[in-house]
């Protein structure tokens, strides 16, 4: 088994053969991948060394210390967090070799074609059709809430390949080429004024069967891997005290005593405590994961942060008084990166409304906690044994 000392020496070797100061950024990242130091828990030859995941921090610290370039993980979050684990779990050897390296270096950006206008919480009801045509599939349909679609080279896509069986069974998982002429990306403007997401229209998009991930009709199971990783990445950020949405409002409170009222003071303290407890709960979850203890708190983290972000940013707008009536800029833009705490209070207030919808609505997550954590009876299902084509819509 590879240990921390071995990783340190391999990292130093990489730095010696590819000095970051004189090596092209992508060349350095490629060499890092080839040395197995990209994600050390991945298998050898695929950017890893089969080492424990916790040892990644050793490599990252060594590289950070000398200011080596990173792969700008925030820009390629969907590739790293969702596409990669799915490709690793279900891809063929050929697929893994073709896609993982440029995915990790950031040469190729990925997006996710899952949600549809008619399939939100009930994602398995999706209607985008993929019809077999020889060695290819022909895809038609509409996807929505696709971040990075306008930058992406590839997409992970789930589509209906069999409408005659119940909805969970007739789905297949594909890798879609976003440069196909049948792919049309349109920005989707949000209540914040900007377009962080896109709508994607698929018209006779042709996907070779070699870009299928997993078996025909097995797409729902494959998608579970993707979605599980999404929830971990949304709720699992590590924060210092006052590190989240509470930070800016606490700062304003300290710097502008003229804005303070007794009512706001009580509400601020209450939210400060709740934010600190949410932070501790997240920290406890991380400690459990490190100790190899299964923890259920993860399912709850996203619920807590969604509510807190909304309440805290709402309080912040009130605290600002006359300034709370203003908004920094309604200009339609397509930001490459999304920072929930970026921009002004009005933006934070509006953007955080999405936190209880994206990546599983709070209502669905409460069902998940009730059923999987507390073991309460599942919702009555009327859709389980009905062919997809016969579902109410």
């Amino acid at each position: 088994m590879i240990d921390a000392m071995e990783l340190r020496s391999r990292t130093q070797e990489l730095l010696a053969t590819h000095p970051p100061a004189t090596t092209d950024r992508l060349d350095f990242l490629g060499a890092r991948f080839d040395a197995g130091l990209a994600w050390v828990h991945y298998p050898e030859g695929l950017g890893g060394l089969g080492a424990p995941r916790s040892l990644q921090a050793v490599v990252d610290a060594e590289l950070e210390a000398v200011g080596a370039p990173d792969n700008d993980p925030r820009r390629i979050g969907i590739g790293l967090g969702m596409a990669a684990p799915t490709i690793l779990g279900f891809g063929t050897e050929e697929q893994k070799r073709r896609y993982l390296r440029p995915l990790w270096t950031g040469e190729e950006v990925w997006c996710q074609l899952f949600s549809e206008p008619g399939a939100g919480s009930d994602l398995a009801a999706l209607g985008t059709r993929a019809v077999r045509d020889g060695e290819e599939w022909v895809v038609n349909g509409q996807k929505v809430w696709t971040s990075s679609a306008h930058l992406a080279r590839w997409a992970i896509l789930i589509a209906r390949t069999d409408p005659d069986v119940p909805k969970h069974r007739g789905i297949t998982y594909f890798i879609c080429d976003m440069t196909d002429p049948g792919v049309e990306v349109r920005p989707l403007r949000q209540i914040t004024g900007e377009a962080e997401f896109n709508e994607v229209f698929l018209t006779d998009v042709r996907i070779p069967d070699s870009r299928r991930l997993g078996g025909i009709g097995d797409g729902w199971r494959v998608a579970q891997t993707t979605l599980m990783n999404e929830r971990v990445s949304i709720g699992g950020m590590r924060l210092p005290r006052e590190g989240g949405m509470i930070g800016p409002v606490a700062k304003t409170w300290r710097e502008r005593p003229e804005l303070r009222t007794h009512d706001l003071h009580q509400r601020l303290l209450k939210l400060w405590v709740e934010a600190e407890v949410a932070r501790l709960t997240g920290e406890r979850l991380r400690q459990q994961l490190v100790a190899g203890q299964p923890g259920y708190e993860g399912s709850g983290m996203k619920l807590s942060f969604a509510r807190l972000n909304q309440e805290i940013s709402g309080l912040e707008v009130e605290l600002l008084g006359e300034e709370g009536l203003l908004y920094d800029d309604w200009t339609m833009r397509r930001p490459e990166l999304v920072d929930f705490t970026g921009r002004d209070a009005g933006y934070r207030y509006l953007r955080s409304k999405g936190n209880s919808i994206e990546g599983g609505t709070s209502e669905v997550l409460l069902n998940i906690v009730a059923e999987r954590v507390l073991g309460l009876p599942a919702e009555p299902r009327t859709d389980k044994d009905v062919a997809w084509k016969d579902l109410a819509r």
């Binding site: 209450k270 501790l280 406890r284 459990q288 100790a291 954590v373």
Partner: protein, 358 residues
């Protein structure tokens, strides 16, 4: 870095205490005892203190204790909270013990408390927060005069630790005073008036630092008791709602109730992190004031709501004297006042983290 988990040893301690409570502290017995002349279960106390050595967890080994820490005491309190056990653990093994640990001249009494054979009570009203002003009795001609009220578990105590108006903390034996039980909201941790009519006392040290240390530790560890109460309320309600059938289906299958229970679970998970944070801070001495204030500002509303939800979701049976949910509700509500309300602790935080009032 704060350790928010339970160690293997702590889990083993939990299992041992839970086993003992399962055998010796059933709800029906607690309910029956609560209206008797002896609300405290002294046999259970002997098993916990003598048998398991739990009264001396916070006392170093060279002073007659177990040399453990607040982390272990917190685990014990979680379990005692789950059972709403009528024993003076928090008041004697935590509060009185911490007060003695802050005094110079207390070695002999400390060892007696650590053994569990003597029960102590700090004569400061239960609702007072760490740092709050507290009443003292008059010291005249070397003896104590006056009356103190709201003293938790005074009726079980062998010795009272009493603040006097000279700034000292005095040890007063139980037979030197008159203890008058008050009819208490929480019958499992009853409060009493204590009258001093020329009571002899022995000066142990200064009252203010002793009370501050004792109440800070009590407030921090109370969060673990509240966690136990909340966890029992949630677990028991989930269990019942899986069994209880109305409209030809388990009541726990209705989404309105599932969401309420899931929400409660989230809050209990938060309370667990906050309570472990406070216990660990007390054990290490790092960031104690903030960790305790955060835990207490969060714990009481969660524990009370958990008990209130348990009562409501049990329906009619939850309103009966026979069902244990009222033990939990009364303890949770009394705990929401104990060692400072959530609001008092939020007020402390305003200073501690520099979020000043207008």
């Amino acid at each position: 870095m704060t350790d928010l988990l339970y160690s293997e040893e702590e889990e083993a301690l939990r299992a041992a205490v839970r086993d003992l409570l399962t055998d010796h502290c059933d709800a029906a017995g607690v309910i029956a005892r609560s209206e008797s002349d002896a609300p405290h279960d002294m046999e259970l106390w002997k098993l916990l203190a003598d048998g398991m050595g739990l009264a001396g967890l916070l006392v170093p080994e060279d002073r007659g204790g177990q040399g453990a820490s607040h982390r272990e005491a917190a685990v014990v309190l979680e379990e005692l909270g789950r059972a709403v056990a009528p024993v003076p653990y928090l008041t004697s093994a935590v509060v009185a013990t911490e007060a003695l640990l802050a005094c110079d001249d207390s070695a002999e009494l400390l060892a007696r408390l650590a053994s569990g054979r003597t029960i102590g009570a700090l004569a400061v009203a239960l609702h007072l927060a760490p740092g709050a002003a507290f009443p003292a009795v008059r010291l005249e001609d070397g003896v104590l005069h006056g009356e103190l009220t709201g003293i938790a578990d005074a009726s079980a105590a062998d010795v009272l630790l009493v603040p006097a108006d000279d700034g000292g903390l005095y040890a007063v034996e139980r037979d030197a005073v008159t203890v008058v039980p008050q009819v208490s909201l929480d019958l499992t941790r009853p409060v009493a008036r204590v009258r001093f009519e020329g009571a002899a006392g022995r000066r142990l040290g200064d009252a203010e630092p002793a009370a501050r240390r004792a109440l800070l530790s009590a407030a921090g560890l109370l969060a673990s008791e509240q966690l136990g109460l909340a966890d029992w309320s949630l677990t028991e309600t989930v269990r019942y709602l899986k069994e209880r059938k109305q409209f030809n289906r388990p009541v726990g299958g209705f989404q309105a109730l599932k969401h309420r229970l899931a929400q409660l679970w989230l809050e209990v998970a938060g309370l667990r992190a906050a309570a472990r944070g406070a216990a660990d801070a007390l054990a290490t001495g790092e960031d104690v004031d903030v960790a305790v204030a955060v835990a207490q500002a969060y714990a009481a509303p969660v524990a009370v709501r958990a008990a209130e939800e348990a009562l409501q979701l049990h329906g009619g049976i939850g309103m009966t004297w026979e069902h244990p949910v009222h033990l939990c509700l009364k303890r949770a509500k009394a705990d929401s006042l104990a060692y400072g309300t959530a609001g008092a602790h939020r007020g402390a935080l305003a200073e501690l983290v520099d979020l000043q009032a207008p």
